[in-house]
Symmetry: C2
Subunit: 162 residues, 2 copies
Amino acid sequence: MTTTDEVRWLTADQLHAWVGLLAVAELLPAALDSQLRREANLTHFDYQVLAMLSEAPGRCLRMTTLALRTSATLPRLSHVVERLEARGLVERTPNPDDARANDAHLTAEGWTTLVAAAPGHVRTARALVIDALTDEQVAQLEAITTALLTRLDPEDRLARRS
Amino acid sequence: MTTTDEVRWLTADQLHAWVGLLAVAELLPAALDSQLRREANLTHFDYQVLAMLSEAPGRCLRMTTLALRTSATLPRLSHVVERLEARGLVERTPNPDDARANDAHLTAEGWTTLVAAAPGHVRTARALVIDALTDEQVAQLEAITTALLTRLDPEDRLARRS
DNA sequence: AGGCTTTTCTTGTAGCGTCAACCTTTCCGG
DNA sequence: CCGGAAAGGTTGACGCTACAAGAAAAGCCT
């Protein structure tokens, strides 16, 4: 895999931005997990699953669609939904149109759990990210993440609800 | 923990930036792990450990210092170094000045492993992040991550080599 | 010096994610 | 139709991380 090309090392500015991004990518998920574990006994990924279901029509999505919306692999989602189902927050039912597919839908208890967890989560999002930036920086961040996702997620599988 | 204050929900712009950042924080570490696993049989965290040691004077750091430099908990580092030591990439020796402390230092084999892995890693960093952004955006990203780290890492434990 | 706290690091366990293998069902070419 | 390939999910095993507990040395206070 080592081409004969010379390596183009990073400049000091580029290195700073790179190291900063790595640190954020390392610390942010841990911080979100920690807060949600404490206050709602949920993983951040659990929360995302419940949130995506809550926004879907009928609060119901096929497993594959849900996996794409949450940027997760199918085995991972399968395991997580299995646990959420054991806790009564989600239910799986066979899809009537396609016997291969399974529909995951949010239970009433899952809905109340999500509603109870949401305020604390949003507060954390503000405290750690949004309120630490100027409005201009928020706009810049949106443009930057969009650019990065074209590389990180070429098929653009992410939720584009608009 | 639910204060009586009303929740300040996110605006559409803020939500976009937030969701984008979450997706990046989810996908970037996975992509880096994947590339390094394939080409060098290293975790991205393994790589960071080796890289930090390589930059230290004498290619040697105390475990606690190394943990701070890599934003890791001490148990995590202890386990990782144990595996790296089993592979001959790192060695642990008791610190002569403080009998509680252990020094981790890079072996010759660890150095060659790191040197072999570095070009591919830098290429990935460019392909996924740096080359996807304009110079102006790189500067913006550096400012944004710096602002975020004051919240995510209040004690500012991260490497500040300058 | 004696005892208490703090620091430093290791260990063990439980939980979560990845990977490979597998089983169905559906699609599609001939 | 029928047989092979693809799509949709599940399962089990393995590896890594967090958390809690513990051991040992250093610092501190009197």
